[in-house]
Amino acid sequence: MKEESVPESAEMSSRKNKPALNFLLLSAGSMFTSMIIAGFLVGYVIDLLFDTMPIFLLSCGVLGFIGGMMKVHKLLEKMSLLDTGKAKPTESETSKHD
């Protein structure tokens, strides 16, 4: 009885989490590119403020690239959880890790 109830609740939970997650996945590509653009933008402003062109422009661009990769990776990780039928960890599970 216990074995049957676990996948059912996981499926329900994944279905519940799915809509919002899918919309985020739709924008994974533009999120990545906009992170890089935002990186260069923030770097450009910092460089203007401190008159250090192009140190922050380049380093923030690289940071934006890394951040973009991390964001997309995080999103895709959640997608693989959905694909295998495993639900996203519940709030109590995540709080244990934190």
């Binding site: 809509p19 919002a20 919309f23 985020l24 739709l26 924008s27 533009s30 999120m31 590119t33 906009s34 992170m35 653009i37 935002a38 990186g39 933008l41 923030v42 910092i46 923030c60 940071l63 934006g64 951040g67 973009g68 991390m70 964001k71």
Partner: protein
């Protein structure tokens, strides 16, 4: 008018300079801050007024028993938006659903202007003004200012709810310790700043990019008739243009709806993230 001039003419806004320097820049074909894109403002306000007018009219004629066709349609749109808000937004905030509905309807209507034949409204405008070179860009979302302004409003709300829900200390903590922990504070500040700035950027650039590209394809299809359909060749090119235009129009109907939908849903998701407490 050559093909390049035709496309450039269609993609140029009717701009009002607010000072002499701005006028000089516009005359040179440069971008300037002190200028108003009159066509963008006029069309977006008109479409916004249309939503208000139809909603007010419908509000007076609501039927509780057997609603008519239009009321049914509006109710289904409302239901669709509220379902999405329920799915994507944790907790309760009475502002989110009306905001999402406004964004969806307004962006969809502004995008819909793309489906009106590209030369129709500019031609009528040129007839009315008597100026055969008058500029008129009818799709507000193909002007980067519109999506950026909408994204800036959403960004303002994200910041407001971040500070309201997490508190000023929680918000500052988010900048200091996210995402690499307490040993990389300077990197964390820059990284979180980039992450926050990228939200409105991705919202605006996605909508602008899709609509601008769609408009450009319509212009290129229109050029088939304008440049190639001469004499007997028109028997081949004119039907081809009609078929291509119809095909792109049907596909673009999907694109405009999807773009309005994504803008709305991402607004809900970003505001939902701002409401989550750490």
């Amino acid at each position: 008018m050559g093909t390049v001039e035709y496309i450039q003419h269609h993609l140029t806004n009717n701009t009002l300079a607010l000072n002499a320097e701005a006028q000089e820049a516009i005359d040179k074909g440069q971008m300037t801050f002190w200028a108003l894109n009159l066509d963008t403002i006029a069309f977006s306000l008109l479409l916004g007024a249309l939503i208000v007018f139809v909603a007010a009219r419908l509000g007076k004629q609501l039927e509780s028993g057997t609603p008519g066709g239009f009321q049914n349609f509006v109710e289904s749109v409302l239901d669709f938006v509220s379902t999405n808000v329920r799915d994507a937004f944790p907790g309760h905030n009475p502002l989110i659903a009306p905001l999402a509905l406004t964004i969806f309807l307004w962006v969809w209507l502004m995008n819909f202007m793309d489906l009106i034949p590209v030369d129709l409204l500019p031609y009528l405008f040129q007839l009315i003004t008597g100026d055969s070179h008058a500029y008129l860009k009818v799709v507000p979302t193909t002007d980067l200012n519109t999506p950026l302004a909408m994204a800036a409003v959403v960004f303002g709300l994200i910041l407001y709810y971040n500070i309201k829900c997490k508190g000023l200390v929680g918000f500052i903590k988010m900048f200091l310790f996210h995402p690499f922990g307490k040993f990389f504070v300077p990197v964390n500040i820059v990284m979180t700043l980039i992450e926050e700035v990228s939200k409105p950027l991705s919202l605006a650039l996605r909508l602008f990019g899709n609509m601008f590209a769609g408009e450009l394809v319509f212009l290129l299809i229109a050029l088939i008739g304008g440049t190639l359909a001469v004499g007997a060749a028109a028997l081949f090119w004119a039907p081809l243009q009609a078929i291509l235009d119809l095909g792109w129009l049907i596909f673009h109907l999907l694109v405009i709806t999807l773009q309005a939908f994504i803008f709305m849903v991402l607004t809900i998701v970003y505001l939902g993230m701002a409401h989550e407490e750490h």
